[in-house]
């Protein structure tokens, strides 16, 4: 896929070496070694509480490691570091939120900067317009974001993450609560970005099937254990049984993977979905 070996391909977009995260006495994961190449699509799977969102927080420089190191674009991850785009879960925005679609995307470009940003308005407008165009959102650029559908809002999220021209795209369950058609649209937009701009994608999800054709490798986390490999290597009965420590069977039914035996974890997962810690939420801090 990355046939032409160049310098950019030599430096991993994301690199973890012996990375460990612990909350008090609870070891989340330990000794994680992982390189994500530019343009690679890495899916992060696992039940709730296995540290998927925490991995994103580590890459964003929001969660310190207790051991090991984490590099993003060759430099240690730090809070507010550049080169990262972030796509959150779809979450309904308040209907009366005083913000237009173009404003939401613009915040992705310079919302973290101090001052009023009165200079370079024109260049800014052009970049925002280009980002809106790239996700097919030009038509509703001036609509209040709160009045748009979930699918439209999530396209804006992709534009918001891409407008800063990131080399790494972190996605935290971006397809959750979208219908099938919009799941396809959003995942196709993310896939197009990494193919055209060599952006590495780290995609946290509890459901592999919508993105299975796009995934290069999977990081599967279960209760402190993890496995990294291609879907064919990781999504097998033997590997998942070992990870879960119980009999798990992986079936391939038409182009879908069905995991049987990890239902307990999945049922628990669905139940806890509402309380899913978000990147900045209270829960993520105290977890």
């Amino acid at each position: 896929m990355n046939g032409g070996v160049n310098n950019a391909a030599m430096t991993p977009a994301v690199s973890l070496r012996g990375a460990s995260v612990r909350f008090g006495a609870r070891q989340l994961w330990d000794g994680l070694d992982l390189d994500v190449r530019p343009g690679e699509f890495l899916a992060v799977l696992g039940p709730n509480g296995s540290g998927k969102t925490t991995l994103l927080r580590v890459l964003l420089g929001l969660q310190p490691l207790v051991a090991g190191e984490v590099l993003v674009g060759g430099a240690p991850a730090r809070r507010g570091g550049g080169g990262i785009g972030y796509v959150p879960q779809q979450k309904a925005l308040p209907e009366d939120l005083p913000l237009r679609a173009a404003d939401l995307v613009g915040l992705g470009l310079d919302g973290h900067r101090w001052g009023l940003g009165l200079g370079g308005r024109r260049a800014r407008r052009e970049r925002v317009a280009a980002a809106l165009e790239s996700v097919g959102a030009t038509r509703y650029a001036n609509e209040p974001v709160g009045r748009l559908s979930g699918g439209e809002q999530q396209r804006l999220r992709v534009a918001q993450a891409l407008v800063g021209d990131p080399s790494v795209l972190l996605c935290d369950e971006p397809l959750l609560s979208l219908d099938l058609a919009n799941q396809r649209v959003v995942s196709a937009l993310i896939d197009a970005r990494r193919r055209t701009a060599d952006t590495a994608v780290v995609f946290v999800t509890h459901e592999i099937n919508p993105v299975l054709p796009l995934v290069d490798r999977i990081l599967y986390l279960v209760g402190g254990r993890f496995r990294i490999g291609t879907p064919d290597e990781v999504m097998t009965s033997a590997t998942l049984s070992e990870l879960y420590g119980t009999d798990v069977e992986v079936l391939r039914v038409r182009n879908r993977l069905v995991v049987v035996g990890a239902e307990d974890q999945h049922a628990h997962h669905a139940e806890a979905q509402l309380a899913e810690p978000t990147i900045g939420g209270e829960a993520a801090w105290t977890a």
Binding site: L99, L107, G108, R113, L170
Partner: protein
Amino acid sequence: MDRLISFDGVGELLGLPFVQNAFLAAAVLGLVAGALAPLIVARGMGFAVHGTAELAFTGGAAALLAGISVSVGAVVGAAIAGLVFGLLGLRQRERDSVIGVVLAFGLGLGVLLLALYDGRAANKFGLLTGSIVSVDSGNIAVLVGVTVVVLAVLAVIYRPLLFASADPDVAVARGVPVRMLSPLFAVLVALTTALAVPIVGAILVLSVTIIPGAAAARVTASPVRATILAVAIAELSLLGGTLLSLAPGLPISGYVATLAFLSYLVCRVVGRRRGAVRAT
């Protein structure tokens, strides 16, 4: 009606220094309140502003009893309330109940302190309903100074604050110090509230810190346009309210609140028409 709406002798009144001070105070307050209002609305801080205003009242009442400047007492009370509410964090439900608890206690304490004070009754009443004619040139200097500071800080933190208010998860991911901005903005709101309390009164601070923002949000979703419109509505209410209150010699708060409310109704109607056009 003649007692409520009258312009008898307004011409002469406008020539008096204390009346000119009143207009200047109203104009400055309108600027800062209008600038903050859209963000207060976007952050869902209406109740927090109300609670802050009541504690500014408590602080003012305590100052009155202690024989020190009422403005200083109001600023201290509002700043304490702002910090407490700002540090409470992000959980809406918990925040609301704590504000309710603090507000009720503060208001009760304030009423008690006022009852213990046996000076002029006009001073007592002024804290609750406002009395712009009591604004002297010393107060104007404080008003202008605090407004400059609030607007300067707002200009510096505006974009991250808007980001944190509208989209906290992504703002955190981009490195915006969301947790620091929350108490900082609460202090800006508290300072503005403290400025507003002597003018429009503790119970009607919402008429200049919420209504302009809520009205603007009805007609535009553009943050810039919403801010300009909110400032315009706050100015219209405060300057218009001051003018209307002159001849009848009644507290300005009723006029300010009425003008702001009418602006809100107009904005709702305009917004509904536009919404209907957009939907078709």
